[in-house]
Symmetry: C2
Subunit: 123 residues, 2 copies
DNA sequence: ATCTCTGCAAAGGCTTTGCACATAG
DNA sequence: CTATGTGCAAAGCCTTTGCAGAGAT
């Protein structure tokens, strides 16, 4: 994506302002409000592109659809609610210290933490 | 799955002895050696069932296919190699202490850690 | 004017489901 | 014998791709 287009701007803005990881459908739905005839394929194309340029990262939790969020380098910790299946981005209190050691020979470049349980709304 | 069948036994044994998370295809391929005419649908049916009975857990890493592993309650830490896309189960050195805090109102029931980087073979 | 991006629809890959037969209990 | 489990193929998602036209530079 070398050119600046309305669709690209809208998709980026949707992800950037979401505050939590969104599914492609959620992104597409939100983007549609600001750019009505946008296609789902365009959404996927931008997601792929934004992923490759490190602006967006994927967040997966088993049994749930893929999600994507803005990559500001801070969202390494997430919370998955097992009741409502929502995903939340939590403040990172790990101070960039990998919470586990890898055996010799493994070069650790980064890490992610997923907490799971019940969110305030489902409490 | 209330009945004991050859296929069920084989699938369970494949997962239990794998030592690392496997994709449905890998599981099916390995199971086929011991039970040649086993269908992929049977593999999926057992995976679903074993997941619901907590004997098997899913492990996801963005951009890679879903994987499943034996749930012995110890494999909370994994390593994803970005070069060869393999997933490894690491020894858990977290001592069951969640590596991050959740805000008030979130009830943490468990957690998982994913380290990523380069594995010994791809070093 | 040129080359990229978009929308649409078709194609692909992975997972689930329907159904008749096999098989455990 | 009866109900569950299996294999096969079809159906269902979600995601990617091909193509002609729209749009950015």
């Amino acid at each position: 994506m070398k050119r600046k287009t309305r669709q690209g701007e809208v998709i980026l803005e949707v992800i950037r302002s979401a505050g939590r990881p969104l599914t492609p459908m959620e992104i597409h739905r939100r983007a549609s409000r600001r750019s009505p005839r946008i296609g789902i394929a365009t959404t996927y194309r931008h997601l792929k592109d934004l992923g490759q340029s490190q602006q967006v990262v994927g967040v997966d939790y088993p049994g749930q659809p893929h999600r994507y969020e803005w990559a500001d380098g801070k969202d390494k910790v997430h919370f998955a609610c097992r009741a409502c299946d929502k995903l939340f981005a939590l403040e990172d209190t790990t101070e960039n210290t990998p919470p586990a050691k890898a055996p010799k020979g493994f070069e650790v470049q980064g890490f992610e933490v997923m907490l799971y349980g019940t969110c305030p709304e489902c409490e």
